[in-house]
């Protein structure tokens, strides 16, 4: 059992009780909700005659179903309109803070909570969305939950949970040019596997993560769930505090001083004990692209799609399925694969630093003939910041569409979808079958700069050629 890690300390501080089942009743410091996984939870609450116990600790926004072209209400899609209305009504009836479209603070739930300073070190955070793991970048224990558990948090501000083990994933050294946080996490997942993290919290440690800014750390923690870990985190440090200071919900004045002292105290101890430790060398990570139907099926840009005999026996079944579905041949290079659609956005890579890196590639170049390329900022604030810097103009001049904030084609619960067998280069987090809105559509995951490169070249290409 781990001992002295941030996970252990935060878990203990938030333990309300041990339930008769032996599970822990854990206090949730911040509850984030959105339109997709909450309506049934409010209905269950009403059925049981329960009220929201701590309405101040739940914050709502709308992200999955919002259109990214025309956001005028009512939405053209009547079901989407009904969902946003349900959220509006549920928030109003229960006195919950709701950042609606046009509030200036709306956006993907995992983008807005950090930028508002809602996400803080040492908190427990839950949300009915698996990418809640993103908030671990701040040294929070943050994880996705289902709708019945959303009900539980609304009713009691707690959850019934079994404690996780802790694996330290240490990456040391400097990333090579053209290698980004997205490549680091894709590399970790391809090495440890998509179920490698089941039962674990991932602590991301080492000089590579220490050198990352908060947005890069969020990208890594965002995809911890893709490696099977329900949550991932980075210990808080000066980078964390500099990001948080003066944000809307961050502690102010004397509270700030007290906060920093407390945050320092909850970091993993130097002699903390882990259930497992894995070490990587940053220099060995190259720009990474997925070729299959799980985020673990990734390879370096200059590598070849693995042949069945090169894979562990237990990985061959899914690989065979991936060859068929993706229509990509074993032994073939991934570089040069023709692309139809390029999507930059999502809770993984829809932040301002992601858009800056993509814009550097797009600047002064043109999207290849026949490619649909679009950029979707992660929030209204990201959009505003990007426009203030002129990134929208760089993208537009290069032939990218510049959109309104939302989840967009990451899961395609809105009009942004692949059509038929289209193949996309995507900065999102999942390449599952049918994920981007077409039952036969195909997704290649990569960093935003690599997506921009694919847009310019019309095929999977090496970002380093355009740096």
């Amino acid at each position: 059992m781990s001992k002295g890690t941030l996970f252990d300390k935060v878990w203990d501080l938030h333990t309300v009780d041990t339930l008769p089942s032996g599970l822990t009743q854990l206090f949730i410091g911040l509850h984030l909700i959105h339109e997709v996984t909450s309506p049934q939870a409010f209905a269950m609450l009403r059925e049981r005659g329960l009220e929201v116990l701590f309405p101040q600790r739940t914050v709502a926004t709308v992200d999955h179903i919002v259109p990214t072209d025309n956001q005028v209400r009512p939405f053209a899609d009547s079901v989407a309109e009904a969902m946003i209305q349900a959220l509006e009504q549920n928030c109003q009836e229960n006195n919950l803070t709701f950042y609606n479209i046009g509030s200036g603070n709306q956006g993907i739930v995992h983008v807005i909570a950090p930028e508002l300073g809602l996400t803080q070190p040492g908190m427990t955070i839950a949300c009915g969305d698996s990418h809640t793991s993103s908030h671990g970048a701040f040294g929070a224990i943050a994880f996705g939950i289902g709708t019945s558990q959303v009900r539980d948090v609304l009713a009691s501000q707690t959850l019934a949970l079994a404690k996780l083990k802790v694996r330290k994933i240490e990456v040391n050294g400097t990333l090579n040019p053209g290698v980004y946080a997205k490549d680091v996490i894709l590399h970790i997942i391809r090495t440890l596997g998509v179920k490698g993290g089941v039962g674990y919290a991932y602590e991301f440690a080492g000089t590579t993560f220490e050198a990352m800014n908060m947005e890069e750390r969020m990208t890594v923690c965002n995809m911890a769930i893709e490696g099977g870990a329900r949550c991932g985190y980075v210990n808080p440090d000066q980078v964390t505090y500099d990001y948080l200071q003066d944000r809307d919900f961050a502690p102010k004045g004397a509270d700030w001083e007290q906060a920093v002292t407390w945050w320092e105290s909850i970091k993993s101890d130097a002699d903390a004990e882990y259930d497992d430790v894995v070490v990587f060398d940053a220099a060995e990570i190259s720009p990474t692209v997925t070729w299959g139907i799980t985020p673990g099926q990734g390879i370096g840009i200059n590598q070849f799609i693995p042949k069945p005999e090169e894979l562990a026996e237990e990985d061959r079944f899914v690989a065979e399925e991936a060859y068929r579905y993706m229509d990509l041949l074993p032994g073939q290079p991934i570089k040069g694969t023709k692309i139809d659609v390029c999507f930059i956005g999502s809770c993984t890579n829809g932040r301002i630093s992601d858009l800056r890196e993509a814009a550097k590639i797009a600047q002064g170049r043109r999207v290849a003939e026949g490619i649909k390329a679009f950029v979707v900022p992660g929030s209204e604030r990201v959009k505003q910041a990007a426009e203030a810097e002129g990134l929208d103009k760089i993208f537009a001049a290069a032939g990218f569409e510049w959109r309104e904030p939302g989840c967009s084609m990451c899961l395609a619960m809105n009009p942004d979808k692949l059509q038929g067998r289209q193949i996309s280069a995507s900065s999102s987090n999942r390449n599952f079958k049918g994920r981007q809105g077409s039952a036969s559509g195909r997704t290649l995951l990569m960093s935003p700069a690599m997506v921009a490169t694919a847009a310019i070249k019309g095929e999977v290409a090496d970002v380093r050629d355009l740096l």
Partner: protein
């Protein structure tokens, strides 16, 4: 709340494959709804369409089955409770697999559907036995932690806390959690961040 679930017994349906994610169990377009109604008929819908009737959920011999036998990392991906809801509404009351993704497992507990694990060889054997004899009765016993089909018996595993919740009928934790309101308040009061900033309780 909830009721005691000590064992689940009935016919089984084998679903072979690793890393079957929740987008495949119920595609995102079916999340556009404000209730869980009607999800059962759309469980695995894209896989079923692609397989033109050959998906186990469409094959006549498995209609009415209530135990689902899967392989590794079943239910990975999205946290959508719509996935176990769709499987449950199709008729499944328990799952046996090599491993389950964490959020999926938690969602199943919350709606009273036990997921037990067994080693790869056992799962493979169970799938073969059911394929050979779809009418056989499979029993998942949470008290003895065994699965039985005909003469074949094998051990299964589930975390002790979750097992307790099923056999004692406390799998719906909401009532227990709410009943602890005083302890919840005192835990909250000890957390330094509850009190600073705009989210103060």
């Amino acid at each position: 709340m909830g009721s005691e679930i000590k064992q689940v017994s009935g016919r089984a349906v084998p679903l072979v494959g690793d890393d079957i994610d929740t987008d495949r169990i119920i595609p995102a377009r079916f999340l556009k709804a404000i209730t869980f109604d009607g999800l059962g008929e759309n469980a695995f819908i894209d896989d079923r369409t692609a397989l033109k009737g050959e998906h186990p959920f469409d094959q006549t011999q498995y209609q009415g089955a209530n135990v689902l036998i899967v392989n590794r990392n079943f239910g990975c991906g999205s946290s959508r409770e719509h996935a176990p809801q769709a499987i449950a509404k199709w008729g499944i009351k328990a799952l046996i697999g090599e491993s389950f993704a964490e959020i999926f497992f938690g969602n199943c507990v919350a709606i009273g559907v036990p997921c037990v694990t067994a080693d790869g060889a056992t799962v493979k054997q169970l799938q073969e036995l059911v394929t050979a004899n779809p009418q056989a009765t499979v029993t998942v016993n949470l008290e003895t932690l065994q699965v039985q089909i005909g003469d074949f018996t094998a051990p299964v595993f589930i975390g002790e806390g979750s097992r307790n919740m099923f056999v004692s009928g406390s799998w719906d934790a909401c009532g227990q959690l709410v009943a602890n309101a005083d302890k919840i308040r005192s835990t909250a009061a000890k957390l330094p961040y509850v009190g600073w900033g705009k989210l103060a309780v």
